[in-house]
Amino acid sequence: MSTHEPTRTNDARTHEVADPILEIRDAEVVFEMDRGVSRVLDNVSIDIERGEVLGIVGESGSGKSMLASAMLDAVVDPGILSGEITFHPPDGEPVDVLAQDQEGIRELRWEDISMVFQGAMSSFNPTMKVGGHFEETLKAHEYDVEAGMERARELLADLYLEPDRVLDSFAHELSGGMQQRALIALSLVLEPDVLVMDEPTAALDLLMQRSILALLEELKAKYDLTLVFITHDLPLIAELADRLAVMYAFELVEVADSDSILSRAVHPYTRSLLNATPNLDAPLSEMRPIEGSAPDPVNVPEGCSYHPRCPLADEECVSQDPGFRPTHTEDHLAACFHWEEASEAIPFNIEREVNDE
C-alpha cells in the first residue's frame, strides 16, 4: 500500500466558510516504517471560521490528534506533514504556517494558535511550580512578565481557581480538574486567537467535564477565541460545538452543523457512532457497538475506507472512493455513496432532541 495515492481532492467539496481563521488544505502526515508508509492523516481539508467552536470527533487512532498537531505544525518527529495551512490573523496578511522558519513558527505557536493537550498532569514539568511555567513562557516570547502574570491571575480567576495558590503549587499538588484548568490558562496567557484542545477532558469525571465545557464557553466569549475541540465523545462536544467534523480512518467523513449531525447524520459511521455512545436517555440494551475495528494506517482499505464495517457497502464502495459531496444542504457534507439510504438502514436508537437556539 505504499503506492497509495491521495484519495480525495479539495476544491469545491471542501466545507468553505465566509471568514476563515484557519484554512487547511490537503493536510497529510506520513511515517516511514519498517512495514511500509503509515499515513496517519490522509488529505484533510477544512476551514475553521473565526469565532466558531469546531468539534472534531473520531475513535482513538482515527487521526484526530494528528490533525490537531498539524494546525500548529507540531507533528512529532519521524512524521512528515505536507499540504497547506493558512492562518488569517485578525489584522494583517495571511500566514502560511508550513512555510515559516523556526523563529516564525515559534512566534506563531502559543501567540496566535495555542494548544491544550490530553492529560494535564503530564503537560507540566513535575519539578517546576505552575507559576514558573507561565513566567518562562512569557519570557520566551518576550512579553512583559508583570503584565503577563497579571493576565495569568485573571485567567485563573476566570477559571474559578485561586490564582496565588495555583501559581505557587507543583502540578502534583493540584487535582486533575485544577491542573486541566491551569493548563488552559497557560495556553491562553499569550492571548492567542485559536485554541486547539486535544481531548482536554478525557481524564476527568463527567461532572468536571461538563463544568470545564461551561467555562470554555465563557472564556471564548470573553477573550474572543476560536476553539477547536477534539474528542471521541460526540454527545459531549455536540452541546458546545457550532460545527462538527467526524473523522474515520485518517480522513474526514462528515462535516456539518452540530444540530444537523445530531438530527440527521448521513454517514453510516456517524450514525453508528451516535448509536454506540452511552446515553442516559437510551436503555442499555439499545446501545450498539460498531462491529469490527479501526483500520491500520499502513493498510487502509481501498475505496471507501469504512466499507469493511459498513452495512450499506456494495461493490462501488469497495472499488471507488466516495469523495465529499453535499447532502441535505450545501453545508452538510459527507463522504458516502449511500447517504440517502443511511437513515433508514441505521435508525437512531433514540429520538434526539435538537435545540434550535
Binding site: R109, M115, F117, N125, T127, A140, H141
Partner: protein
Amino acid sequence: MNWFIKRIGQGLFTVFAVATLTFVLVRTMPGSPSQRLASQIREQQPNMSTQEINAMVAQRIGVDPDRPLHEAYIEYMVNLAQGNLGESINYQEPVFDIIARALPWTAFVMTISLLFVFVMGLGLGAVMAYREGSRFDVGSSLIAIFLSSVPYYVAAVILIYVLAIELSAFPLSGRYPSDVEPGFTLAFVGGALYHAVLPAASFVITSWGGFALGMRGNSIQVLGQDYIRVAKLRGLTDRRIALRYVGRNAVLPMWTSFLITIGFMFGSSIILEEIFSYRGIGYYMFDSIDNRDYPVMMGTFLVITICVIVAVLIADMTYGKIDPRVEAGGDNEAY
C-alpha cells in the same frame, strides 16, 4: 521534621546494630578474637596472670573475656559512646587517633572521585540520550558497558603498570611527596592531588559508565514525556529545556544510585588503598585484618558505617529540598 527525626533515629539504630554485630562477632565466635588476643599476650608475656591478661584484653578491645556477656556488652557500648574505640594491638596507640589521621585522606580521594563520576557520567549520559542511536551513542554505550565490567582493582593494577611503572608519570604509592612538609602549602596540596590521581582514576574509570547508562535511560524517558513537547511548543529555548526540564528530571532518580555509590566507595577504599599503599581508613582496615588487629578492625568498620550514614543522611535531606515530589514527612522513595 518528624521525618528528619525518624531518619536520625534510624541512623543511630544502624550504628547501634553494627556495634552490636561487631561485639557479637568478637566475643562469641569460636576461637574469637578476644581469646586469640589473650593467648597472643600470654605467648609474649608468659609471666602474666590470667587476670592481668584479661584486664589487658579488656583495655585493648573493650571486651573482657571473663566478664558475663551482658556486663561486657554494656561496658563496650559505654566505651563506644564515649568515643573510646580501644587501643591498637599493632600500633600501641588509641584506635581513635589512627582513624582521625587516616579518615581525611579517604574523604579527600572519595570527594574527587565522586565529583568526577557524577559529572562525567551524567554529562555523557545526557549527551548520549540526545543523540540516541548515533554512532557516538552506540560507541559510548559500548565503552560504558565494557568499563563497568572491569573491577576497580583491575583498573588500579593496569594504571599502576602503565602510568606508574612503565611511564613513571604518576607516583606508585603514598599520600603526598615524602620531601614536602605537610601543611596548607601549594606544594603539599599539589603533591597530595598528584598522589590521589591514580586511586581516584581507578574508581572513576570503572564507575562513570553505570551512571552514564542510567542517565541515558532516564533522559530518553524524559525526552519522550508530554511536558517536553509542550515546552517546545511554548517556544522555550533548547538550552532551558535541556537544563531545567530534561536534566533536572533525569538526574533526580539517579540520587539513589548516588547514595549507594557512597557506601560502595568506602568499601572499595579498602582494596584500592591497599593496592596504592594509600594510608586512608581503608588501608588501616585491611592492615588490621592482615594482622588480626581486632580493635582497629572494629573501629574502622564502625567509623566507615557512621560516615556512610552521615553521607546518606545529608544526601537524603538535600533530595527532599530539590525534588518537590518528595514531601518531608511523607514516604521518601528517594532511598
